[in-house]
Structure formats: C-alpha cells, structure tokens
Amino acid sequence: MGILRLGGGSRPAASGWGIRRLLALGLVIGLAAGVAVLDAAQPPTTAAQDGFVPMPDIPPEDQMPAAPLVAAAYAVVWAIAVGYLWTLWRRLGTVEAELADVARRIGERDGA
C-alpha cells in the first residue's frame, strides 16, 4: 500500500522527470548517432589544416595532362600558318585588283 501510495503519490512528478530524462537521453543518443552517421558519410580528408608540409613531387593523378598541350601546340602552328596565308591572300587580292583597275584606266585614257 505504502509502495502503491508512494508510487501513486509520486507518479506525476516521477513521470515528468522520467520523460525529460528519456527525451534528454534520446537527444544525446540521437545526436551521437547523427554525428556518427555524418562522420561516416564524410570522405576522410587529407587536406592539411594544422600546417603545410612540403613533398618532392605531386602524385600522378594531380599532374597536368600533356595531351591537350601537345594538341594545342600543333593547332597553334596550323592556325598561325593558315591565318598568315589568309592575310597574304587578302592583301594580294587587294593589290592585284588595284593593279587591274589602274591598268584599265590607263588603257581607256590611251584609247580615248
């Protein structure tokens, strides 16, 4: 009876305290689990945060690919050669057109 009364008399207080403790415990466990899950989802970082340490050479996966540079060099040679030929062709066309025009005018003048 005493037990019952004690239990019965203290139930509201004990119940509220228990729920809070349970909620707090659940929150702690939840946070810990969340942190663990997030920690597991994050890739392990190798980036230096406390200080930089030199190394003699960069790993192959970080090195600059050479193929685009070789292709660019070949393309540059072609572009310059073709571009220059095009400007030559244009300049030559202009001079030859003027030459033909002057020759025609001289011919017309001499004919008249």
Binding site: A66, L69, V70, A73, V76, V77, E96, I106
Partner: protein, 223 residues
C-alpha cells in the same frame, strides 16, 4: 614574281601540306622521352619552327646586305618578305615553347638567356617591320641595317644554352638524338622549311605586285 616562282608556290605549299598532315602519324609512333613523357613531342614543332625562323633571318640578312651595298630593289623586296616570315615562325616558337614549359618545368616562362634572347630577336624583327611601315623615306636603308643585326644575333641565340646553363635543353640534344627521335624531327623539320619557302614565295609576290602598282602610278603621273 617570275612565272617560274609563280608555279613554285603551289608546289611548295602542297609539299608542306603533305609533311604537316603526315607528321602527327610519325610523331605519335615516336618513343616517349624518359623524363618528360608525352609533352616532349611538342619538340617536333617547336625546334623546326625556330629553324625555319633562322632560315628566314639568314635570307633577311643576306638580302639586306645586298640592298645596302649593291642597291638591288629585288633584294629589298626579298628582305621585307623574309622579315615578316621570320616573325611568323618566331611567333610559333614563342607560343609552343611555353606550352612545353608549363608541363616540363612547371612554369610558362623563364627569363633565362635563351628565352630572353629569343624574345629580343622577335622584337628586332617587329622593329624592322614597323620601320618599313611607318619610317617614311630612307627607312629601307635603316631597316636593312637592322636586318643585318638580326642575322648577327642568330648564332648567339643558338649557342646561348651552351654558354649559359639554363633550364632550356642544350643545343647538343639535337645532334645526339637517337634515330627514333630523329626521324619525326627531321620529317617535321622538312615540313617547316618547305612551308617557310612557300610563305616567302607568296610574300615576295605581294611585294612585287606592290612595286608594279607603284611603277604604274608613277607612269600615270609622268604622263
């Protein structure tokens, strides 16, 4: 341009096109260099571009000398054409070099003796062309002097890596090349030299047509 020279340009242009189209096939089959790997293949465009430039500069220097001491107008026209052609090949060398350097050295550019002299030579040639374009009367003779000095620079530039130790590969690399490296190099070299001659022929033609136009205008004024 004489009729023979007029026929020369298509032949030279076609020949250089053949060399340029087939060169990549030969270059791809060449072995990789042990320390630089794939990027070393830029060498097959870079070195011949400079050699073509040197050829054009020698033509410029000799033609300038002929114009200065013998007063041959044809030599002056050849000198102008050679200077412009040399600038074009120098530009190829100056662009392909950094593309090689960024991978091989980790930097686009180094102000070492070889590279600095190459830039100065290119600037001398550009100065020649600017003088011809904007110098007015008498600039042809002044420019001829610059042309001779440009030619005088070439041997110094060529041996610069032997005199001053720099990051740039030594000149002695070329004569000691193994055959597998030599075949693509000399194939590409032939392409660049023929291209140089083709561009020179086309540029001389432009100068000759300009001279013909000037003569025509003078004839009109005299009448």
């Amino acid at each position: 341009m004489t009729p023979m020279n007029r026929r020369l340009f298509p032949v030279l242009a076609g020949l250089s096109l053949f060399f340029f189209v087939t060169a990549p096939v030969i270059i791809i089959r060449a072995p990789y260099e042990s320390t630089m790997g794939l990027v070393q293949k830029i060498f097959y465009f870079h070195f011949p571009a400079w050699m073509a430039m040197f050829l054009a500069i020698f033509v410029l220097g000799i033609a300038s000398g002929l114009y200065l001491f013998r007063r041959k107008p044809a030599a002056d026209r050849l000198a102008v054409a050679a200077a412009e052609t040399a600038v074009i090949f120098g530009l190829m060398g100056l662009i392909t070099g950094p593309l090689w350097g960024i991978k091989a050295w980790g930097v686009w550019w180094q102000w070492d003796a070889r590279l600095t002299m190459a830039v100065i030579l290119e600037l001398i040639l550009i100065a020649y062309l600017l003088l011809r374009q904007y110098g007015g009367a008498g600039s042809d003779r002044l420019a001829a002097g610059i042309g001779i000095f440009a030619m005088a620079n070439v041997p110094f530039l060529y041996v610069s890596t032997e005199i001053w130790r720099t990051v740039h590969p030594r000149t002695s690399v070329v004569p000691t090349l193994p055959v597998d490296f030599g075949i693509p190099l000399w194939w590409s070299f032939a392409g660049f030299i023929v291209l140089c001659m083709a561009l020179l022929a086309a540029r001389v033609r432009l100068e000759e047509q300009r001279a013909a136009l000037d003569r025509l205008y003078l004839a009109v004024e005299e009448d």
